[in-house]
Amino acid sequence: MRFMVLVKADRQSEAGVMPSRELLEAMGRFNEQLVQAGVMLAGEGLQPSSKGARVRFSGGKKSVIDGPFAETKELVAGFWIWKVNSRDEAIEWLKRAPFEETEVEIRQVFEVEDFGGELTPEMREREERHRARAEELSKAGKH
């Protein structure tokens, strides 16, 4: 099963302050362990919300709001996608992460099987085609 690991923002990340070299190196070693164990599928950092935007859908209308956004505690600063055998395994991995004050959220990713009867065979096939095509595009180095 796959899990998304959402690393929450704090004042520093929102201010665009980079972590110390020491912490970055510790995180690099942790990432290496994840790769070697075959756990890591993806991982990225996000720029502060001040460089982002929100599109809000309300009353049939759309409004665009430029960042920064006030709810710093709920904002995402980065994420991983991990492939593990259980939720407990994901939590055990996360406990080993070299964070100092951060809050991190673990959420299971939906797989096609989770949709059961809701997803028709055609939709399922289309979903699989999408993933295969996205992979081809990335392998072809298309940007």
Binding site: M4, M18, R21, L24, E25, G28, E32, V35, L41, A42, G43, E44, G45, L46, Q47, S49, K51, G52, A53, R54, V55, F57, S58, G60, V64, F69, E71, E74, V76, G78, I81, R87, I91, L94, K95, A97, F99, E100, E101, T102, E103, V104, E105, I106, R107, Q108, V109, F110, D114, F115, E118, L119, T120, M123, R126, H130, A134, E135, L137, S138
Partner: protein, 140 residues
Amino acid sequence: MRFMMLMIPKGYETAPPDVKLDAERVKAMMKYNESLQKAGVLLALDGLHPPSSGARVSFAGGKPKVMDGPFPEAKEVVGGYWMIQVRSKEEAVAWASRCPASDDETIEIRRVQELADFSGDVREAIAGLPEMQAGVGQKR
């Protein structure tokens, strides 16, 4: 440049672990996903199970403390995401605006950090990252 579009559906913070998705809505969303793909901007996408089946780990003082979901204090939670490759923030906003989202849903657009965004010591410390990302088949 890469942007992450984070879907924040109002009410998902209190959804039960076995939340039922509406087939019609999923269908509309799949059509939208297809349009992203046809335009060649889609790099990755996923939906997330509700927070009630998730967990939070806080690291106060470097010590991990696990809390099971749901998280009563959370006013908004992520329900899924798209990773897209576009030329500008405006283009990302335009794509988000085309999403067949429901009332009370918000899409947050956030630029993804690239190696070129860093300099000096930091850049040196994370120099191995692109190779690592390519090694696990991550799309850029």
